[in-house]
């Protein structure tokens, strides 16, 4: 696990495209005003960063490290520990299939298989054009509608392969 993490880290630092400079960003400035520079606030701040950028960019982690006086390694450790934080931007349409037990029993895996087959990417990946990304989610809590998948947070309930296909057709057309 740790080795995998390191590899990914180097890859991202080397990849210049990912180094979008957010240093003078208003959002960050504001964030640093709202929160006290104490270590306990790390996860809360990361949550806001993830919501704002759609991922946690490397240079933002560096800024955060300086602000909170927490070593970069520790911040990276926290970011990679929690599944909600991602190091890469998600697609324009982020599609999550719920793989909670209730959905699984009702056939969510078929939806997931079909989705991967159509987009030709795996779980946690983004298509090359940056349009779609696939995620597996653990229980949206809408078990009454099982199986469900969500597109950018919008829930599609009682899902079938057909429903997925029609949603994808529509999104691909856009």
């Amino acid at each position: 696990m740790e080795n995998e993490g390191k590899l990914e880290y180097t890859k991202i630092v080397e990849n210049e495209e990912n180094k979008v400079c957010k240093c003078k960003d208003k959002f960050l400035e504001n964030l640093f005003k709202i929160y006290q520079p104490i270590k306990d606030n790390l996860i809360q701040m990361l949550n806001e960063i993830q919501d704002h950028y759609g991922y946690v960019p490397m240079d933002v982690q560096k800024e955060l490290s300086e602000f909170l006086k927490v070593p970069m390694a520790e911040i990276y450790g926290v970011v990679t520990f929690y599944s909600r934080f991602t190091l890469k931007p998600k697609g324009k349409y982020s599609i999550s299939v719920c793989l909670g037990t209730a959905c699984y029993v009702k056939g969510a895996q078929k939806i997931m298989d079909r989705l991967q087959e159509r987009l030709k990417i795996g779980e946690g990946e983004t298509t090359e054009d940056g349009k779609f990304s696939i995620e597996a989610q653990r229980c949206v809590g809408a078990c009454g509608l099982a199986p469900v998948f969500t597109v950018n947070g919008k829930v599609y309930g009682k899902a079938t392969v057909k429903l997925l296909d029609s949603v994808l057709d529509e999104l691909e057309g856009k």
């Binding site: 209730a102 229980c139 392969v161």
Partner: protein, 618 residues
Amino acid sequence: MKTLEEINKIREEKRKELDLRVNTKLDTREKHILVCHGTGCTSSCSPEILETFRKILKEKNIENVRVIKTGCFGLCAKGPIVIIRPEDTFYAMVKPSDCEEIIQKHIIEGEVVQRLLCKDIDGKKVQSLDELTFYKKQKRIALKNCGVINPEEIDEYIAFDGYKALEKVLKEMTPDEVIAEVSKSGLRGRGGAGFPTGKKWELTKVNEADQKYVVCNADEGDPGAFMDRSILEGDPHSVLEAMMIAGYAIGATKGFIYVRAEYPIAVKRFQIAIDQAREYGILGKNIFGTDFEFDVEIRLGAGAFVCGEETALLESIEGKRGQPRVKPPYPAVAGLWGKPTLINNVETYANITRIILNGADWYSSIGTENSKGTKVFALGGNVNNIGLVEVPMGTTLREIVYDIGGGIPNNRDFKAAQTGGPSGGCIPAQYLDTPIDYESLKEIGSMMGSGGMIIMDDTKCMVNLSKFYLEFTVSESCGKCTPCRIGTKRMLEILEKLCNGKGELEDIDKLEKLAHNIIKSSVCGLGQTAPNPVLSSLKYFRDEFIEHAVDKNCRTKECKAISKIMINQDICKSCGLCQKVCPVGAIKGELRDKREIDQTKCIKCGTCLASCPFKAIN
């Protein structure tokens, strides 16, 4: 800021105003249209329904009718749900386009819209919520206010005895008396393990410190469980009030609630509750004119199942990776930032105010000898009435599945119920009549768990399900201790072998041995319970494992690598349903032909299996 007198006045006035919510016989010209705003109904457009109602009422200039947003009514499978009070008419699966008809017919002409009524299990349409079999066997204590009040209005909570328990505790009881009352009630932790709540409070109280903390565990990561979320969405103040009572009892002035970020509605409503309570001076200093002070903050989780483990949760609140600590010391001694900390689950807190107001004797009269009160279950999977149910401890599984749950869809057979999620186990059909409580479930190899209850019919493969749970634990293991990090991975590999037809008989023994080793040597609850789903499946469905290993056959056809789907020509009635549902068009045959499956096209998805009303496909 409001004084105690002012709050009591609000209670009195508001209660009169809201009497029509609970009194069906009330003679009034006023009506309240309640629209469910739990996550399930919200996902299927209940906010739109609410807006449409309001718009039509405004257009038609109708007064005396209010449209209210409420928490979950429980019957999620029939959502979105609309209830009209005081007459308690229950409309199911309402669409925004139905609003016009409801207003015109029901509100203006006073006639029930028959079309939108809900059918009970016997097929008859019922008019009110209480007539449904789904509700008849339930007893609502923790969910008392869910679906009755608007969770975003503190006044409505106050109207139904809200913050009265806090007042009673602060004015009439000493901390020791509060703890004694909770202990006497027999309440046990609803997070899963069932530790006596009163005992936990006492252990935290006896530890002297300059600062203590009260924590509410709302990191409901168990897939298929949504009880805590529904309580937070439907009645957030009851949890807040209970945390304050706990704070008074153990001598803490600060509370944290740790909620999953995946529950945005719950987070928002709890924040509203905190803000409103602060505004009324219920949270803060000198609460109700006493010298008791208390404040609560929300902490968001970030998607890690292990953070439901209490010490991992504490680490996470402190802003670190959610890795469990070695116990002892327990949180009661050294918890958040090394200070004595009380951690209880949402549902546990939701019972506290009722215990204080109605007394420990009342509470302990409900339930079984060692498990008192009620338990909320999130009923899901292959059952007709998917939803949230609260039953007295000791209710049998059969009552939950067949009476409340309305049985299994498509007349399939019950195979097993899974309780306790990835830490629990399955309960096979022979134990349908076991009364459900902490001990009885443990005895048969499952556990109460937080309350997820997934029903499975005979199309589900137990080997495959074990694999599903192991996949979950492998991806959620925090990696701190070796047995859990590597052991569960090895177990998963064996299960994958079995499902792919590459397993051998001795693999089953290996699986069992490994499982016991993991249980004995893992650091925290996650690892110690991770092998449970496998062990209980092995206990009751060993023949299926053997079939996978020796005959390379999966009777349910869920394990695609070793299954071939065939239509039994003797049973097939040529109805063509299977053909309609097949996503790849692999089923041949026209009109009155017996259907056949083209094995070259078949992707073994199993959709046809579930669709066949005659069970001709296997």
